[in-house]
Symmetry: C2
Subunit: 393 residues, 2 copies
C-alpha cells in the first residue's frame, strides 16, 4: 500500500506505535499464558502485566486506585458492561443527543423493554449540551446521568466536569445519580480526572487516543459505586470455580474468560513509552496543546475552501475533528474520491451517532468527517485542503 | 525466559505460529483501519479480511454459509452472546455437569433471575454424559440442549452428534429444541460438522485449537435459528446509524463496536497456513490422529508413575488432556513445583468447571491438569513423567 494520509483517527489511531506491536509480539512469542489461571510463573507474569496496566490506567484518569479499573475487549464492550450492569427496573436516565450509538443503543434497548425511562437532552447547533439543561432533566428517579466527553461527529467537548460538580452540590452522596462518561474520543487525548470531575463510571477504548492496540478497552467504576454494578458477561474467572454464581468482586468478576494479555501488554507498553518519565497529566497537557493547535489549523483551513460547509462547528474547537459537506457531492462519494484520487482516508455518513445530526443540520446522507491524531502533519492537512478545493470546484 | 515445557494448551495454545503474529503485525503496520465504517480502500480491505475469515470458519465447522458466523473477542463472549441472546422467559434448558463455567454461569444467572428453568444431566465417573439421559431430560418446554463437545477438565468427548440426531428424529423442525455446543476444547482439534451433527448454535475461541491469537472467538448460528436470537451487546454497527435500535441482521448486529481486525487477520492467516492446500476436514482428520496418539502416550505414561492417580479417565482418551492427583501433595503445590523445579507448566485447581468434580472424584482442592497441543513432543511428556515420579516419591 502506498503512503496513506490517514484522517480517521476518531475510528482508530494509525499508525500504532511500534512499541505497542513489539510488546505484543514479545509477549506472544515468549511469555504467552492464560492469566489468573495457573500457578506457573508465565501465568503469574501475565497477571503482573494486568496489574501494572490497571495501575497505569488509573493514573491516566486520576482514579483513586487500580481496583477501580476493569479490562474489556473494546470501548463498546466496556460501555455495555457499565450501562447494562448498573441500570435496573424503574431507573430514569438522563443522557444527551451528542452520544454515540454505543451509549444510545444499550439505553434504547432498556427503554424498549420497559426497564428504564430516559430523557435525552438536546444539543445546540454546535453539538453542545448545556449543564443547565442536563441538571434540569434530573428527577428524584434519576439513577444515572450519561454524558459523552466529546462528540465523535464534530469533536464538541461537553461540560462533564461542570455537570459532575453540580450533581455533587445538589445531592447528598446516598441519592446522587451516578455520573457516567463515555470518554471514547478523549481518553489519552485530553486531561480528565474522574476524581475532580466527580465521575462515577467511565469507559473508553484503548485504540483511539489511548496508545493501545485494537481489542482493548477499560471501565472505571468508583469504589463507592461498585456495589451498584453486576456482571453482564458470565464465565470462568479463575476464582471460586466451585460456584455457579459469578463472584461479585469488581474488577475480577467483570473479566470472565481469557484476557487478551498480548494486547494488554501492548497497551501497557504504549502508555508507558508515550509518557516516557513524565506523569500522565503532563503528557495529557502536551497532547491537549498539540490537538488544539491542529484543531485550529483544521478549522481555519476548511474555512478557506469555497464550496465546503463546516457542519456543527464547535464553540471552541478543542479536538481536530470536523464534519463537513461539499457542495454538489454526496458524502460517501466524496470520501471515495478523496481516497482513490488523493490517498486521503476519511469517513463519511452518520458516524454511528443517531441523534446529533438534526441539531447540527447535517445533510441527509451525513457528513464527511476529518479526524486527526497527534501525529497528523501540517502537510497532510494542506493536502486535504487542496483536494477539497478540487472536489468542490 | 528459559525453555518452557508448556502443557496448558487447554487454556491457550503456545507457542502461537509465527504466521499468526506476522499477519497481525503486517496488518497493524500497513493496513490498519476500522472495518465497515469507511469508504476508503483500507477500510474495505479490512472488510475483506473479515469476510474471508467468516468463510474460512464456516468451512472448518461444515456450516452452510459464511453468514452463519459472527466474530467475538473470545469464546466466553461468544457463548454469552448465544445463550443470553436466545433464551427467553419460560424456557427450559437441558445441559450437562461436564460444562465449563462459561456455560453454567450464564445459565445460572438466568435461573437465579427466574427467567429459565434448567436440568443438569449428571456425568459418570469418566466425566461422560449419556445421550439417553440427555434426551430423557427434554420436555415440551425445552428450548435448548447445551452440550460441551469435550470437557476441559479431563478431555472427555460428549456424544453431541448422537444427541443431535436423536433430537431431529424426535421433534419436527418447528418444535425441536436448539442444540447448543461449546466447542472450546475441540474447535481446530477434532472434526465436527454442525450440519451432520444437527448443531444449531456453536461457540468457540480462536486461541486454543483454533490456530488464532488471544482475543478471538466466533459464534455459529444456523440460518433457520437466526430469527430466534437477539443481540446482547449494543452499539455502533456502521449500518442504519440513524436508528436507536440495533439492526436485526445476523451476523453484523452481533458485532457492535470496532472489530479487532489485526487479531482476525492473524486468525485467518493461522487457519489458512495450517491447512496449507488441504481442506479443513483433511487437516482436522490429521490433527485428530496426532492428538489420539498423544492422548495414548499421556495416559499410558501416567499409569506407570507410582503415586499418581488419574482422575476421570475417559472411556476412550481422544484428547491429550488428563487430570491427576499426586499422593501427599496439594494440586497447587504440585503445579508450582513442576514449574519452578522442572520448567513444566500445568494448571491446578477446579479449572472453571463447577459440576464435574464430584462425579469424577477430584480431591477437594482440585486436580493437576495436563493438556497438550499438536506440537507437544514425546520428550516433553517424558520430562513430565520423570518429574511426577520425583514428586510422588
Amino acid at each position: 500500500m502506498t503512503r496513506r494520509i490517514y484522517l480517521d483517527h476518531a475510528a482508530t489511531c494509525y499508525p500504532k506505535s511500534p512499541v505497542i506491536l513489539d510488546a505484543m509480539h514479545d509477549f506472544s512469542m515468549h511469555h504467552e499464558a492464560a492469566v489468573g489461571r495457573g500457578a506457573y510463573r508465565a501465568s503469574q507474569h501475565a497477571g503482573q502485566i494486568i496489574a501494572r496496566l490497571r495501575r497505569e490506567l488509573a493514573a491516566w484518569i486520576g482514579a483513586a486506585g487500580d481496583q477501580e479499573i476493569s479490562l474489556h475487549p473494546g470501548g463498546t464492550a466496556a460501555l455495555n458492561a457499565g450501562l447494562l450492569g448498573i441500570l435496573k427496573s424503574g431507573d430514569h436516565v438522563v443522557t444527551t443527543a451528542a452520544e454515540h450509538n454505543s451509549v444510545l443503543r444499550p439505553l434504547q434497548h432498556l427503554v424498549a423493554n420497559n426497564v428504564i425511562t430516559w430523557t435525552v437532552v438536546p444539543v445546540d447547533a454546535q453539538g453542545q449540551v448545556s449543564a443547565d439543561a442536563v441538571l434540569a432533566a434530573v428527577t428524584p428517579q434519576t439513577r444515572m446521568v450519561a454524558v459523552v466527553h466529546a462528540a465523535n461527529v464534530n469533536g464538541a467537548v461537553q461540560p462533564v466536569d461542570a455537570i459532575g460538580r453540580r450533581l455533587v452540590d445538589r445531592f447528598d452522596p446516598a441519592s446522587k445519580p451516578l455520573l457516567f462518561c463515555d470518554a471514547a474520543q478523549t481518553f489519552g487525548h485530553l486531561p480528565l480526572s474522574v476524581t475532580q470531575a466527580h465521575i462515577d463510571v467511565l469507559a473508553a477504548p484503548g485504540h483511539k487516543g489511548g496508545s493501545g492496540p485494537l481489542g482493548t478497552g477499560f471501565l472505571y467504576v468508583r469504589r463507592e459505586a461498585q456495589d451498584r454494578i453486576r456482571p453482564t458477561v458470565f464465565g470462568g474467572t479463575g476464582t471460586r470455580s466451585e460456584s455457579l454464581e459469578m463472584p461479585h468482586d469488581y474488577p475480577a468478576s467483570f473479566e470472565a474468560g481469557n484476557l487478551n494479555v498480548p494486547a494488554y501488554a501492548g497497551w501497557l507498553a504504549g502508555l508507558r513509552s508515550r509518557r516516557d518519565h513524565a506523569s500522565p497529566q503532563e503528557t495529557l497537557a502536551t497532547s491537549q496543546g498539540r490537538l488544539a493547535e491542529l484543531a485550529s489549523e483544521l478549522y481555519s483551513g476548511l474555512d478557506q475552501v469555497p464550496g465546503v460547509r463546516v457542519i456543527g462547528r464547535p464553540h471552541v474547537p478543542v479536538l481536530p475533528v470536523a464534519s463537513l459537506a461539499i457542495d454538489g457531492l454526496a458524502a460517501g462519494d466524496a470520501a471515495m474520491i478523496l481516497d482513490s484520487e488523493f490517498g486521503i482516508e476519511v469517513r463519511s455518513g452518520l458516524h454511528c451517532a443517531a441523534l446529533i445530526h438534526a441539531a447540527i443540520d447535517s445533510p441527509a446522507d451525513g457528513t464527511v468527517r476529518i479526524s486527526c491524531g497527534e501525529t497528523t502533519m501540517r502537510e497532510e492537512l494542506e493536502s486535504l485542503f487542496a483536494a477539497l478545493a478540487e472536489l468542490s470546484r
